[in-house]
C-alpha cells in the first residue's frame, strides 16, 4: 500500500508535465511552442531547486549558479568546432579545440554542476538560516562575476550564440520527468527522510544520530547536478546564452515559483513552475494584443512583467503556504470513493 501511495504522489507532478507538453505540443502554434518548452525547462530547474531548498528548509540563492555552470559548459562545448576558434578565440585551448555532442554536453553539465555544488557545499553547508542564504547569494555573485568577465572559460560579457538548438518537446519532457523522478526517489530515500527530519527539528534529528551537514551536502550536490542538467536543457533550447540570463532574475523567478507552488513538496515545485509560466505566457500574449468579443486590447511592453509580479503577490496573499499548501499530490477522495463503489457493484 505504501508503495502504491508513493506512486500516487509521483503521478501528480509527472502527469502535470506530460499534460502541459501534450496539450501545448498538439494545440499551440509552432511559433508559440518555444514558450511552453521554456515552461517545461523551468519545471526541471525548479524541481532541482526543490531538492535542496524544499527538503532542507534552507533558502538558497545559489542554485542558479549551477544552472549557469551547466548552461555555459554545455553551450561552449557544443559550438561547432569549425567556427569555435573564430567566435571564441580567447578560450583555453582545451575548450577551444574540442567539441562534443549535445547529449554528452548534458552529462557534462550535470557533472560540473554536481562537482561545483559539492565543492561549494563542503564549507557552506555548515551554515544555517540567514547566514546560509547570504553565503549562497555570495556564491551566485562570484559565479556571475567570473562568467561575465573571464574570457578564457566562456563568452564573457557577450551573448554566445551558434549553440545547437536540440531541446525539442521530446528532450525537454523526458529531461523534466527524469529530474522529477530523481528528486522523488531522493526524497523517499533514507537520506531524503533524514534531511526532512532535520528540517522539522534539527536538535531532535541530531539526537537521533543524523549528520545534518552530510545530509545537506548530499542534497546540495544532487540539486547542483540536476540544476546543471536543467541548465544544459535551457541552453540547448535558447541556442544562445549570456551571463545575465542566469543571474538574479532567474534566481528570483525560480524561488518565487517554488514558494508560490508550495515550498515543501515536489508537487508544489512543479505546480508553481507551471502556474507562473502559464500566467506569464498569457500576459505576454495579452501584451501583444488580445481579442475579446471584438475588443482589441494592447498593453505597453513591460506590462506583462508587472502583471506577473501582481499575480505572484495575489497568490501568496490568498495562499501563504503555496497553491498546494506544501502537500504532495493525492488522488482526491471522491475518486477513491467512486473506485470503491465500482468495486462493490462489480
Amino acid at each position: 500500500m505504501s508503495r502504491l501511495r508513493g506512486l500516487e504522489e509521483l503521478l501528480g507532478p509527472v502527469a502535470a508535465v506530460a499534460l502541459l507538453a501534450l496539450v501545448s505540443g498538439l494545440f499551440v502554434s509552432s511559433a508559440d511552442q518555444v514558450k511552453y518548452l521554456t515552461a517545461i525547462v523551468y519545471v526541471a530547474i525548479v524541481a532541482a531547486l526543490y531538492v535542496f531548498v524544499g527538503n532542507s528548509g534552507v533558502i538558497s540563492f545559489g542554485q542558479v549558479s549551477f544552472v549557469a555552470v551547466g548552461a555555459f559548459s554545455a553551450g561552449v562545448m557544443t559550438i561547432p568546432i569549425d567556427t569555435k576558434p573564430g567566435v571564441l578565440p580567447t578560450l583555453f585551448s582545451l575548450l577551444r579545440d574540442h567539441s562534443i555532442s549535445s547529449a554528452w554536453s548534458l552529462a557534462l553539465a550535470a557533472g560540473l554542476g554536481g562537482v561545483y555544488a559539492f565543492a561549494v557545499g563542503i564549507p557552506l553547508m555548515r551554515l544555517s538560516g540567514i547566514a546560509a542564504g547570504i553565503a549562497t547569494l555570495a556564491v551566485l555573485g562570484i559565479t556571475y562575476n567570473l562568467l561575465y568577465n573571464w574570457n578564457s572559460i566562456g563568452p564573457g560579457a557577450t551573448v554566445e550564440s551558434l549553440i545547437p538548438v536540440t531541446t525539442d518537446y521530446w528532450q525537454a519532457t523526458v529531461g523534466a520527468v527524469a529530474v522529477i523522478c530523481l528528486a522523488f526517489a531522493y526524497q523517499r530515500s533514507r537520506f531524503g527522510r533524514q534531511l526532512r527530519a532535520a528540517r522539522e527539528d534539527p536538535a531532535a534529528a541530531r539526537a537521533a544520530g543524523i549528520d545534518i551537514h552530510r545530509q545537506r551536502l548530499l542534497a546540495f550536490t544532487l540539486s547542483g547536478a540536476l540544476s546543471g542538467f536543467a541548465g544544459g536543457l535551457y541552453v540547448h533550447l535558447l541556442g544562445s546564452i549570456g551571463a545575465n540570463q542566469v543571474y538574479l532574475d532567474l534566481t528570483f523567478l525560480t524561488l518565487a515559483m517554488l514558494v508560490v507552488g508550495g515550498i515543501s513538496s515536489l508537487f508544489g515545485a512543479v505546480v508553481g513552475a507551471i502556474t507562473i509560466s502559464l500566467f506569464n505566457i498569457l500576459l505576454v500574449n495579452a501584451q501583444l494584443g488580445i481579442h475579446v468579443f471584438g475588443w482589441s486590447i494592447t498593453a505597453p511592453s513591460g506590462t506583462s512583467l508587472v502583471g506577473i509580479a501582481i499575480v505572484m503577490l495575489v497568490i501568496l496573499l490568498l495562499r501563504p503556504a503555496g497553491i498546494t499548501g506544501g502537500k504532495e499530490f493525492s488522488v482526491p477522495a471522491w475518486a477513491h470513493r467512486a473506485r470503491r463503489r465500482g468495486a462493490r457493484i462489480s
Binding site: 553547508m125 551554515l127 547566514a131 547570504i134 555570495a138 567570473l146 534539527p202 518565487a256 512583467l305
Partner: protein, 305 residues
C-alpha cells in the same frame, strides 16, 4: 596621496551603505524580514528627485522623502502585514515580487514616454558631484555630503531610538516581539514606525546616490541594496549597530578594492572588474568564521551544524 583620496571616497560610500543598512536592519528588527524591495524604495525616491528637478532642492528632497515613506508604508500594509504569520520564505518572496513590480513599473513608465532608459538626470544637485582640490587631493563634494548625511541621520536615529517612547518600543520589539506585545507595545504601530523611518533613510540614500550617479534608471539602488544586504548579514543582523557597521564595512571595502585593484587584467582576481568576487569571497569567509556576524557580540553565537 592617491591612497588617502581613495580612503576618503571609501568612507563616503561606506556612509551611504550604512544608511541603507540601518533601513534594512530596522525593518528586520521588528519583522524578522529581509526586504529585497528596499532598493526599489531608493529608486522611487530618486525618481521623485529627478522629476522635480526644476523645483527648489529642499522641496524636491522633501517630496522624495514623502514618496519613499508612503511607498514603504504601502508595502507594509499590502504585503507584509497579511503575511506576518506566514512562513518566512513566503514573506521573502513577497518582497521579490514587490521589487520586480516596482522595477518593471518604472520600465513601463519609460515605454509610455518614449524616452531612453537613462534620461532623468538630477541636474541641480549634480553640481555637488564636482571635485574640490585640497593640496594634491581631488575630493568630490558628494563624499562630504555622504559622510555628513550619514552622521546626521545616524545621530537623529540614535536620539529617536534612545530618547523617545516609540524608539524604546522599537528596541523592545526587536529584542522580543512577543514579550513586548504583552507589555503593551502595539505591533502595528511599532512596525509602521520602523517601516516609515526606513523609508526616510531610503530617501536620504537616494539623494546621495543620485548626486553621484547623476541619472536615475529602473535599477537605481538595486545593486547597492544587494551588497548592503550581504554586508548587513556579514556584520551581524541581530543588532542594529553591528548591521550598520557591516553595511559601512562593505561600502568601504567595495570602494577601496575597486580603486586599488589595477584596472586591466584578464585572470580572475587581478583587476577591478573582479571586485565583486573579492568582496563576496571575503563575506563567505567572514560568515564561516563568525556565522552570527563579524561585529556581533560574542557568546550568543548562531548554532552551526
Amino acid at each position: 596621496m592617491i591612497h588617502i583620496q581613495n580612503l576618503i571616497d571609501a568612507v563616503g560610500l561606506g556612509a551611504v551603505f550604512a544608511l541603507i543598512a540601518v533601513g534594512i536592519g530596522l525593518v528586520f528588527g521588528v519583522l524578522r524580514l529581509i526586504n529585497f524591495a528596499y532598493g526599489q524604495l531608493i529608486m522611487l525616491a530618486a525618481y521623485a528627485l529627478a522629476f522635480t528637478d526644476s523645483w527648489p532642492d529642499a522641496a524636491s528632497i522633501l517630496l522624495a522623502v514623502l514618496v519613499a515613506v508612503v511607498a514603504s508604508l504601502l508595502m507594509e500594509r499590502i504585503a507584509f502585514r497579511p503575511l506576518r504569520t506566514a512562513d518566512p520564505s513566503t514573506m521573502l518572496v513577497a518582497t521579490f515580487a514587490l521589487a520586480y513590480l516596482l522595477e518593471n513599473a518604472a520600465l513601463v513608465q519609460y515605454t509610455y514616454r518614449q524616452q531612453g532608459i537613462v534620461a532623468d538626470s538630477v541636474g541641480t544637485l549634480a553640481q555637488l558631484n564636482q571635485a574640490v582640490t585640497i593640496g594634491s587631493l581631488h575630493i568630490r563634494w558628494v563624499s562630504f555630503v555622504a559622510i555628513g548625511a550619514g552622521i546626521v541621520s545616524l545621530a537623529a536615529l540614535a536620539l529617536l531610538l534612545n530618547r523617545t517612547s516609540i524608539g524604546l518600543q522599537m528596541r523592545a520589539a526587536s529584542m522580543d516581539f512577543g514579550t513586548a506585545r504583552l507589555l503593551g507595545v502595539r505591533a502595528d504601530t511599532v512596525i509602521m514606525a520602523a517601516v516609515a523611518v526606513s523609508g526616510v533613510l531610503a530617501a536620504v540614500a537616494a539623494v546621495v546616490l543620485s548626486i553621484s550617479s547623476a541619472s536615475v534608471t529602473s535599477t537605481t539602488g538595486l545593486y547597492e541594496t544587494l551588497f548592503v544586504l550581504v554586508g548587513v548579514v556579514a556584520g551581524g543582523i541581530d543588532r542594529l549597530a553591528s548591521a550598520t557597521l557591516g553595511g559601512f564595512a562593505i561600502g568601504f571595502a567595495i570602494s577601496l578594492v575597486g580603486a586599488e585593484l589595477p584596472s586591466s587584467g584578464e585572470t580572475p582576481f587581478t583587476s577591478n572588474v573582479y571586485m565583486p568576487s573579492v568582496i563576496y569571497l571575503a563575506v563567505i569567509v567572514a560568515l564561516l568564521l563568525r556565522p552570527a556576524g563579524l561585529f556581533a557580540r560574542g557568546g550568543r553565537g548562531v548554532e552551526r551544524v
